[in-house]
């Protein structure tokens, strides 16, 4: 695996390899010293054209835990503000010879284009409304830990599917691991033709009880002004996941940040069946696993955290 651009590109085996790797990093996370030398001397650039808390911070921390040198570039305040094109920005950053570039961009296909412009490995940290593969991987990681397997599990993705890259990546990832997926929301927020991706479509929460996992999506306030929904009030009345609609055996997930009282009620967020905090924790180990797979993994079953193991580059001070 040279890049991580889309879940669409990954086989079930490739997904599972990353999840297995993440499990071993979870073990490292329980140690006192949480850092491993795997990527010592290598540079990772994060390039974010959109705001982000979870994704940027967890990729940055993942890089540091792997001992990589980190350069974080935010579009705001950089030469992007001065009108530099994505291509030129990538050429500039590539001059530092980074091992990987982690990019978030407001438009579909940006990460894929960047992969054509740089020798570095490229990680898509969200491209427009297209894909968000690291989110999908951390979500299936979280679910696999809780459920053992996704095979045959019924998962409902509820909310603004139209504007959600998370919905698209998760839909594919869940199905690739054997789950059956239903997407649910008002017809204005379900993309026309989505059923050709192999999911069911529902415009009502009536049958939500059949789901084992309920994955709620963020509804942005501005959707109202564009007539996607008449009001947040009416949306919540029909599609909010609350304790009344959620039964105690169902698991609840959300990619964050949550619009409390819109797509989720406060008590649902804070209920024991909510996996939202576990998702955030999974973000770190899964992103460590992604960077490891791309930069040190490959086919080599390198031991994790075992000092200068087989997967580690030549230590500093020794001839390469």
């Amino acid at each position: 695996m040279k890049h991580l651009l889309a879940i669409e590109d990954l086989s079930r085996e490739q997904i599972e390899a990353i999840l297995d790797r993440a499990e071993s990093f979870a073990e490292v996370g329980r140690r006192d010293i949480k850092k491993v030398p795997t990527l010592r001397g290598r540079t990772i650039v994060t390039l974010f054209y959109e705001s982000s808390t979870r994704t940027s911070s967890s990729f940055e921390l993942a890089a540091k835990r792997l001992s990589a040198d980190l350069v974080s570039v935010k579009a705001a305040g950089s030469s992007v503000d001065k009108g530099e094109s994505l291509k030129d920005t990538v050429a500039t950053l590539s001059a530092y010879d980074p091992a990987a570039i982690v990019i978030r961009h407001p438009y579909a296909g940006a990460a894929q284009m960047v992969a054509g412009w740089t020798p570095a490995a490229v990680v898509n940290a969200g491209d427009g409304k297209h894909e968000h593969p690291s989110q999908a991987l951390l979500d299936v990681y979280t679910l696999r830990r809780r459920l053992g397997t996704l095979e045959g599990r019924r998962i409902w993705i509820v909310g603004d599917v139209l504007h959600s890259r998370v919905a698209r990546s998760n839909l594919i990832a869940f199905q690739r691991l054997g789950a059956e997926v239903t997407v649910c929301g008002p017809p204005t927020l379900i993309p026309r033709g989505i059923e050709e991706l192999g999911c069911e479509v529902s415009h009502s929460l009536e049958r939500l009880g059949e789901a084992e996992v309920v994955y709620a999506l963020r509804l942005q306030n501005e959707r109202m002004r564009e007539s996607f929904v008449p009001s947040l009030r009416e949306y919540a009345a029909s599609f909010q996941i609350d304790s009344r609609r959620l039964n105690p055996r169902q698991l609840l997930m959300h990619p964050g940040p949550v619009n409390r009282g819109v797509e989720l009620s406060g008590e649902a967020i804070d209920s024991p069946q909510s996996l939202i905090a576990e998702q955030v924790a999974a973000g770190l180990v899964v992103r460590m696993a992604i960077l490891y797979e791309l930069l040190a993994g490959g086919e080599r079953p390198a031991p994790v955290g075992a000092g200068d193991g087989a997967g580690a580059p030549t230590p500093i001070g020794q001839p390469a």
Partner: protein, 449 residues
């Protein structure tokens, strides 16, 4: 009127050519067979029996096994002049047209500034007389500055030589303005060519709305964005007894709307572009804006089939390239940010021959007819091989394979939807309004040897 009489071209010498033993095909004129085609004094002087034509004083091209057709006419080209000469100009655009087998083209008015005044038209006509390889006609905008609000001085524009009118690139959103333009047409003549799209429905769309846009998370342009506007304007044209031409049909619903309007007697014509006839939105999965981002967007296979059916039954009377050059910096960006448009003049015939004729989808004769069908909707004489007609001839090698872009382009831009494709069928010589406008270098060398 002949092309030379109605359009503008750089003056040159009339060719005196004999295409010896060419396989001649002009379905409209009812010509099919092997002939010596004699071009002289700007006309098709004679279709002689093979090997029998008098060759004295003429250049002879050995055309055995090669095909001669009426040269093509493209009613929809963006020459980007004035304002965007870094993408294309009159010289490079007409060279590209000649290389594609065209003997005449119509240039769109969505330049910078748009072609909205008589002075704009006069300046462009002068440029064409100075440097156009093939005859060019210029459309003027329907509304001032393409703002969709006020009509241009359509009478004066026609007197200055505007062939017709179009705000192409943008729809005329206001039904009131549209209706006024159709009423005013009675005074000035000139077909009004329409880019049909409801921006309220297209929104921020960058591709066809359907399963592929759903999978990519790219905002979609629904088919009804096009077809509802066609239905509106067909109704207005019927009400005002006006003449309209629908540009770049892309959706099955649109073909149906035009067909229904024609059946009701509306004076309406329609064009389809080679990329819409050959490709579907499945190509967009690559998110390659260089080759696959254009407006209207590539649609579904059922839409493509409906367009082909439209070509067959005459609902779509012509093929138009919608040649839309862009520079790399406008395309080397993520799909949604990239400019709409692809080039197509140099590849239209070869692509359609490869994809539709060789696949057995349509007959060669139908393709030849539709490629020359873009003149009549604008009141321009259709290119013909009938003796006595103006010499507008294209000579093709239907067996020649070539890879698009390998030897560069005549166009100043390289955003060809065919880039990298291997096509079968190549234009060797184009004669436009009596003059040799193009000859493939290797072919002329072959003759000399």
């Amino acid at each position: 009127m002949s092309l030379r009489g109605s359009l503008d071209v750089r003056p040159g010498e009339d060719a005196h050519l004999v295409l010896r033993r060419a396989t001649v095909l002009d379905p409209v004129a009812g010509i099919e067979g092997v002939h010596d085609v004699v071009l002289r004094d700007g006309e098709i002087a004679e279709l002689a029996a093979p090997g029998e034509a008098a060759v004295e004083g003429a250049e002879v091209l050995e055309a055995e096994g090669l095909h001669a057709f009426p040269a093509f006419f493209d009613p929809h080209v963006h020459l980007r002049t004035p304002g965007h000469e870094h993408k294309e100009d009159v010289e490079t655009g007409t060279r590209a047209a000649a290389a594609g087998g065209y003997c005449g083209i119509l240039a769109m008015a969505n330049t910078e500034p748009p072609v909205s005044t008589a002075a704009d038209v006069a300046a462009l006509r002068e440029q064409a007389r100075a440097g156009a390889s093939v005859p060019v006609g210029f459309l003027a905008t329907v509304t001032r500055g393409m703002a969709g609000q006020e009509l241009t001085e359509m009478v004066e524009l026609r007197e200055a030589g505007a062939v017709g009118f179009s705000d192409d690139g943008l729809p005329i959103v206001s039904a009131r303005v549209m209706r006024r333009a159709l009423q005013y047409q009675r005074l000035c003549g000139g077909t009004i060519a329409l880019h049909e799209e409801d921006p309220e429905l297209s929104g921020e769309g960058a591709m066809h709305e359907g399963p592929v846009s759903a999978a990519l998370g790219v905002a979609g342009i629904p088919s009804v964005s096009e077809s509802t506007m066609i239905a509106r304007d067909a109704a207005l044209a019927a009400y005002e007894d006006a003449r309209i031409h629908v540009q770049h049909l892309s959706a099955a619903e649109s073909v149906q709307a035009v067909r229904a309007a024609k059946a009701a007697g509306v004076k309406i014509s329609a064009e389809a572009s080679p990329h819409h006839l050959c490709l579907t939105d499945e190509e967009v999965r690559s998110l390659d804006p260089h080759r696959f981002k254009m407006n209207p967007p590539l649609r579904r296979e059922a839409d493509r089939q409906a367009l082909i059916e439209g070509l067959r039954d005459g609902t779509v009377e012509c093929v138009a390239s919608d040649h839309a050059p862009h520079q790399p910096e406008e395309k080397d960006v993520p799909f949604e940010q990239a400019a709409f448009g692809v080039t197509g003049l140099e590849t239209a015939f070869a692509a359609l021959h490869t994809e539709l004729v060789l696949s057995g989808t349509i007959e060669l004769g139908l393709l030849v007819e539709r490629l020359a069908g873009g003149a009549a909707p604008f009141g321009i004489e259709r290119p013909s091989l009938a003796p006595g007609s103006e010499a507008n001839v294209v000579l093709c090698d239907l067996g020649a394979e070539w890879t698009v872009g390998e030897d560069g382009y005549e166009s100043r831009s390289a955003n060809s939807w065919c880039a990298g494709r291997t096509l079968t069928g190549r234009v060797l010589v184009t004669v436009a309004a009596g003059q040799v406008a193009f000859r493939l270098r290797s072919f002329s060398l072959g003759v000399a040897a």
